[in-house]
């Protein structure tokens, strides 16, 4: 187990190297001079040259890359071109805001999705099942920002209940959370439904029925608990999507989170911030996925084989056939 955790943590190294390499490559192809951008159009050529030298932009890309990685190892993610502040200290407070929204969204999406999934599994092949399918598919088909606009129209413009932008009050968190959450309902519903259907056809469910358990008891105590494992495992993947969706919605709602920070940095061509933001999100996501995987091995030791051996090795032929 410890070996596995260490191995997974070591995987962070290629991810950090890879993610920063991707963005460094993108950066070198970008037209425009960052030094000119910092100083503005009024600066003289000498000032721009001096700034280029100061930022180390005249060095070969590979040197810049190695220097950057050296900084990252020491916790230095570079300085924002726009404010001159260290990227890390700009991102950390925003990370907390984004984390709140993402966690709230995952909770909303998971609760709604699991309830709908149970409902459609219990009423399989009836109109209830079809209705649930249509509802969850509806939210999968609407862009998050459209849901956001509609909710702003209803709750901010018409009813004046919730603020349209900003998170000065707790109420400001509600709309962004709901919007991000709704988009993931479909995925939870689908997984819950198929997992429930599978579990409900198991022998131990038939045994439970045979010994006279009530249907409610069977659903909640025997089926649901076993059916939740794949659902809970999918939370890790959904977190990534929630963070991506959050980027767009933070911009729509004017929430000062990491997503809006990165979007703003992209439009301002503020590369240290884009790079830092991307790296920090990649690291956070990788660690969350590791924690999710490890906690499932602790909860259900049967998963040890699938998670620990399945994740790192290519499946053998025999396994693929099975």
């Amino acid at each position: 187990m410890l070996r596995y955790i260490v191995k997974r943590l070591l995987l962070l190294i290629p991810i950090i190297l890879g993610v920063s390499a991707i963005i460094f490559i993108l950066k070198t192809f970008t037209p425009g001079d960052p030094a000119r951008q910092i100083l503005g159009n009024d600066a003289t050529q000498e000032q721009v040259d001096a700034k280029r030298e100061e930022l180390g932009l005249n060095d070969p890309v590979i040197v810049q890359y190695v220097r950057y990685i050296g900084g990252v190892v020491r916790g230095d993610f570079g300085e924002s071109y726009r404010t001159g502040e260290p990227v890390l200290s700009e991102i950390v407070p925003r990370l907390a805001t984004s984390a709140k929204i993402t966690l709230g969204a995952v909770a909303i999406g998971a609760v709604l999705g699991i309830l709908l999934g149970i409902l459609s599994a219990l009423k399989k092949y009836t109109w209830v099942d079809s209705l649930v399918l249509v509802i969850s598919m509806f939210f999968q088909s609407v862009p998050e920002f459209v849901v956001a606009l509609v909710l702003i129209m209803i709750f901010s413009v018409k009813l004046h209940l919730l603020p349209a932008t900003g998170i000065e009050t707790v109420k400001g968190y509600i709309l962004p959370m709901v919007c991000v959450g709704l988009s993931s309902v479909a995925s939870y519903t689908r997984i819950t439904r198929s997992s429930m259907l599978e579990v409900l056809s198991e022998d131990y469910i038939r045994t439970a029925r045979a010994k006279g358990q009530t249907e409610g008891n069977i659903t909640y105590h025997h089926a649901l608990r076993n059916a939740m494992i794949p659902v809970a495992q999918s939370i890790g993947t959904n977190l990534g999507n929630a963070i991506g969706g959050g980027m767009v919605l933070e911009t729509v709602f004017g929430v000062p989170g990491v997503g809006k920070y990165i979007v703003d940095s992209i439009t301002q061509r503020n590369y240290p911030s884009v790079l830092g933001g991307a790296l920090i999100i990649a690291i956070v996501l990788t660690i969350i996925n590791l924690v999710v995987d490890i906690s499932f091995v602790l909860i259900d030791p049967r998963l040890k084989t699938t998670i620990i051996s399945g994740g790192s090795k290519a499946p053998k032929k025999a396994k693929a056939a099975a």
Partner: protein
Amino acid sequence: MAKMHTPAMERIEKKNARRKKPVQSTPAYESWKRFKRNPTALIGLAVVIILILIAIFAPLIAPYDYQAQDYLSMMQKPSAAHLFGTDTFGRDIFSRCIYGTRYSLLIALFCTIAAFFSGGLLGIIAGYFGGKVDTIIMRIMDIFQAIPMIMMAMCIVAVLGNGIPQLVAAIMFASMPTMARNNRAAILRVRGADYIESSEAIGVGQFKMIIKHMIPNAIGIMIIYFVGFLAVSILMMSSMSYIGVGLAAPTPEWGLILNDGKAYLTNAPYMTLFPAMMIMITCFAFNLMGDGLRDAFDPRLK
């Protein structure tokens, strides 16, 4: 036992007599039969066909040019002359949405094809060869996947600039890991089959093996992913255009039309409502169809 002659039997016999050739039972035909029985999937298919027709005949359907500006009729409410109203430049929103179908469907198609030929191919190679090749490709994909898809796409657009080829490239790169993973899984499902082993034994070449034996047997699952990704790319494209890192004005892309209208949400909601409906209807149709395909090609998943 004497032959029965009930009315039902006669009907069946008549029906059989009408069939000239014996009943086909290829996997594709079986899938189509299952698809045909699924009403929601058929609705999805019908809407997709209508959208394709709208895209093809856009110049005939749209009453105005999509970029014709008319300063005498700016920000008009929906009326007989302007079905969906007009925007701040006096452009007819109905015409822009109709032309938008053309842009959105075509771009989504390009994105999906590009993603299949890059990520999909990598996945097929990884799945077929296995071992070291598989490990290397999938580890690289893991690195790509560490960045959320839409963020990756936005970074690429920021570098390449706003435009259709740039957007296609961005969505292609961003979706590579997902595509690779899906196609690898599809290939792995047929990888261990007996007929693959037999073909290997009689010395079928690797290229022929992939093209002639594995892809045709995995194609059903690949089509499911293909249709599903059409919806995903329309959503990504419009989200990116909406926050300003996608296509550039005056392209009549739905996300951009929405972006034009967002400042007037309170007094002119029709400016955002109609393009939003177009996105919704399109993605909904693709998702319905994709779901029907899933049931049709892979009944075990149901």
